[in-house]
């Protein structure tokens, strides 16, 4: 077996199949990165998985999952001020959380180096929006490099690290979902580990590090000057590639993954347009662009999401009085979704119908029933939602937060009717409760989110006396992103730690009404929720059970493990269908006659369904049905 950890630490140059996220970690190693931090979020968790493959004692850098993206950014910044090359990575919307700190970074003289790796998500595959984080780069005067594939991820990180160390400024490496998750053979360089200078080199004389009043303006001037230095560097960089097909009529300026879609699309064209593929997407290499615009009668700007390049390039053409027809986005469709080969073909066919025909195959109608994401078989959230739904009136308001439990908004539960971002449920719920005496408000939240961004909302509910009920679904892990540890897990990325107990935090904050129940005990949960919502004060119900998927995986590794499943007594079953329609565990399969069977590939034997069957037809396999609780 090829061990990823061995590969990442290989001294000699080599070529290996690697995912974008893995290639990034090799680049971190080669660049001499000393501190890395993150908060888990798709499409970036595999970066941490690659880091975890290097045993801690051999890991050439420190890594932690911090409490949230802002904390992770601050930690990396602090390390960089001591002279280290630091890196922070997180998903697209993580930058919103980190923003308060992030926007100041470019004002600071960063003695070591700082690379901010963003996992943007065009197409919103696993995010609440598809925000274009290049706007943040413009807002904060931060350079951006954007790779198109795993090999470029590797090379561009090395470039970003060098640039950051040389100019003492933060640099963004902007990845997108299908760059993070693409795999190909990548040629890696040699790694010559250098001795680390771990002396804490922070010196206020290198500042100012206090961005206040007149100093802030001076720091901004410096940031703008550094940005101009990056621009001049970008003009000379061979990472920006021009493909000269000798076409004086048409050119395309593009970047990132859309470049590959473009190459795919124009491959079959005889009069191929010239192409300028930008690696530096902020600041733009102005002279390079002027040269390209001047050499063509028409230039198409092909960029995913927003018109960030387009606006700047049009301004350049206007200032320079270049007689070129610039074709940008033509309608809202051009602003939405990932620029796949199909989408790029469609866009080019619209701009240049004589060159590119519409897709030979348009998106065919899907002949199969849709498969929506849902809670895992045996998930504790399902059991809880099944109970909570019974405790609440149809008119009551349920507020979701980010996490696995968010999936409860779908049928058959329809629990969690609104969602915003990490930690928002308590405060949104508090607002929904104002002047509202007829509809109870119940908010949901997971335990990783609790520490991430929820505490201010909870403190506010206590301090400003908002009488809502928060159901804290404590499963001991950050489940949705792949079971990363958090402050209440009992270990961090590197070692066993004390748990920060959620209940005691709440007590310390002054929550007077805290109830606790095992997530799977439905009758007790209903009873406690009745009690909690009857109180005219902020209350919390902690529904606790380790994430069943993780729990089950760990149990499987134990000696003497016996697989548990449930079975249905077909004689007892009265075809009421609560199990399949209301409880809705994917384990239950319905045939055309309405008979229900257990899918033995899926059932993990948690037994939470046993409580839900009115006919008491469900029982642990190999036992007589008892109708008892799990």
């Amino acid at each position: 077996m090829k061990k990823m950890g061995d590969m990442l630490l290989r001294k000699a140059a080599f070529a290996e199949i690697a995912m974008g996220n893995t290639a990034l970690v090799r680049a971190m190693v080669e660049a001499g990165t000393r501190v890395v931090s993150s908060y888990p979020g798709s499409p970036t968790p595999e970066i941490a998985a690659a880091i975890a493959s290097i045993p801690r004692a051999q890991r050439p850098f420190y890594f932690e999952f911090s409490t949230n993206e802002k904390v992770a950014t601050e930690l990396a910044y602090g390390a960089a001020l001591n002279g280290h090359l630091a890196t922070v990575f997180f998903k697209s919307v993580g930058l919103n959380v980190a923003a308060d700190t992030f926007v100041q970074l470019s004002l600071m003289n960063i003695i070591g180096g700082l690379v901010v790796v963003l996992g943007d998500d065009p197409g919103a595959n696993s995010s609440q929006n598809e925000q274009d984080n290049r706007h943040y780069a413009l807002l904060s005067y931060t350079p951006v490099l954007e790779p198109a594939d795993p090999a470029e991820v590797y090379h561009y990180y090395l470039e970003a690290a060098r640039l950051s160390q040389r100019l003492h400024m933060p640099v963004i490496l902007r990845l997108t979902t299908h760059v993070c998750h693409a795999k190909q053979k990548v040629s890696f360089g040699a790694w010559n580990p250098q001795p680390n200078d771990d002396s804490p080199r922070f010196d206020p004389a290198n500042g100012p590090y206090i961005p206040l009043t007149s100093m802030a303006l001076e720091q901004k001037r410096k940031a703008l000057n550094r940005l101009e230095q990056v621009r001049r560097h970008a003009e000379q960089s061979d990472l920006n590639v021009t493909i000269d097909n000798g076409n004086a009529k048409r050119g395309v300026i593009t970047m990132g993954l859309p470049f590959l879609s473009l190459m795919e699309t124009v491959g079959e064209v005889t009069a191929q347009p010239d192409i300028l593929k930008l690696a530096y997407v902020h600041p733009l290499p102005r002279e390079t662009i002027v040269g390209f615009l001047s050499g063509h009668r028409q230039v198409k700007i092909l960029e995913e999401l927003d018109n960030v390049l387009e606006n700047q390039i049009k301004a350049i053409a206007f200032d320079q009085k270049i007689p070129v027809d610039i074709i940008g986005k033509t309608g809202t469709d051009d602003w939405v979704g990932e620029y796949t080969p199909d989408k790029v073909r469609q866009i080019l066919a619209q701009s240049w119908p004589d060159m590119i025909s519409q897709s030979r195959e348009t998106a065919a109608q899907d002949p199969a029933p849709p498969r929506v994401a849902q809670l895992c078989p045996g998930c504790g959230h399902r059991s809880a939602f099944h109970a909570i739904r019974q405790a609440l009136a149809d008119t009551d308001i349920t507020v979701a937060d980010i996490g696995c439990h968010t999936l409860g908004f779908q049928p058959p539960y329809e629990m969690g009717q609104l969602l915003m971002c990490m930690g928002a449920s308590t405060a949104m719920g508090s607002g929904l409760r104002l002047f509202n005496t007829s509809r109870k408000v119940v908010a949901f939240m997971g335990d990783s989110t609790f520490f991430h961004a929820a505490l201010p909302g909870i403190v506010n509910a206590i301090f400003n006396q908002h009488p809502i009920t928060l159901i804290l679904m404590e499963n001991g892990t950050t489940a949705m992103t792949g079971h990363q540890d958090h402050a209440a897990s009992g270990s961090n990325f590197n070692e066993v730690t004390d748990k920060i107990p959620v209940r005691r935090v709440l007590e310390g904050l002054g929550v007077n009404h805290i109830f606790e129940v095992d997530t799977y005990q439905q009758a007790k949960l209903i009873d406690l929720l009745d009690q909690a919502t009857a109180i005219d004060e902020f209350s919390v119900v902690i529904a606790r059970h380790p994430c069943m998927l993780k729990f089950n995986r760990e149990q499987r590794k134990q000696p003497g493990y016996r697989q548990r499943q449930v079975t249905i007594d077909q004689n007892a079953c009265q075809r009421i269908h609560t199990c399949v329609e209301t409880f809705g565990c994917p384990t239950f399969t319905r045939d055309a006659q309405g008979n229900i069977t257990v899918n033995t590939d899926l059932c993990i034997g948690d037994g939470s369904c046993i409580q839900t069957c009115p006919s008491k037809a469900i029982a642990p396999a190999g036992q007589k049905q008892s109708g008892g609780a799990a």
Partner: protein
């Protein structure tokens, strides 16, 4: 080589990642230029998982355009129909493991469960060859992917990739009992092909 596009699909938890990376590495061992990309949504278990592999000299994007896949590999019947209808080209080949993880809409009786006949009809109209595999003697459902891979290998369904390349790829990715168990399934003979709608 001429481009060869493989669209793999299944349900979260079925092991699409392993079969995909095995084929990717086997293609590399066979000396083909190759790229792949995985797409997974929000769910840990039970959501759609898609992986795409593209072999050939002139492949740029790792993403396969609509209905340009030469081969669709599915580990589940509903996903097999989806792949055949939306991603396979006319005259392509579909191989699927004949098991069912019912989508929510089927369990809620809003839609009808897909039958093997549904797949055959659709494939017939689009000139797609269909191969369905199933073993009733599997100890672990997570090895269904290896049953499919064994049949792909036996039939030589991916140009230029031979048994030795798959074995090398599996050796790259696994060790110990996991490798032994998977290799045992992979090395088994002809899997019984289920008769139409026997399940």
């Amino acid at each position: 080589m001429t481009p060869f596009n493989i669209h793999l699909t299944g349900v979260g938890g079925q092991g699409i990642g392993l079969i995909s990376e095995t084929i990717l590495r086997a293609a590399d061992h066979a000396g083909h230029p190759v790229k792949s990309v995985d797409t997974h949504g929000l769910a840990q278990r039970g959501g759609m998982v898609v992986s795409q592999i593209r072999m050939g000299d002139f492949v740029c994007s790792p993403l396969i355009p609509h209905r340009q896949a030469d081969l669709a590999i599915s580990l589940e019947r509903h996903e097999a129909l989806r792949a055949a209808g939306t991603m396979l080209k006319e005259g392509g080949v579909l191989i699927y493991y004949n098991t069912i993880w019912q989508p929510l809409s089927v369990r809620l009786k809003e839609r009808t469960e897909i039958s093997q006949q549904d797949i055959h009809w659709l494939c017939q109209t689009r000139g797609i060859e269909v191969i369905s595999v199933f073993r009733d003697d599997l100890a672990d459902s997570r090895m269904q992917n290896m049953v499919v891979l064994a049949e792909i290998c036996r039939r030589g369904m991916i140009p230029g990739i031979q048994r030795i390349h798959y074995e090398k790829a599996m050796d790259d990715l696994m060790t110990g009992t996991m490798l032994e168990k998977n290799m045992a399934i992979f090395s088994l003979g002809h899997p019984p092909v289920t008769p139409l709608d026997a399940r």
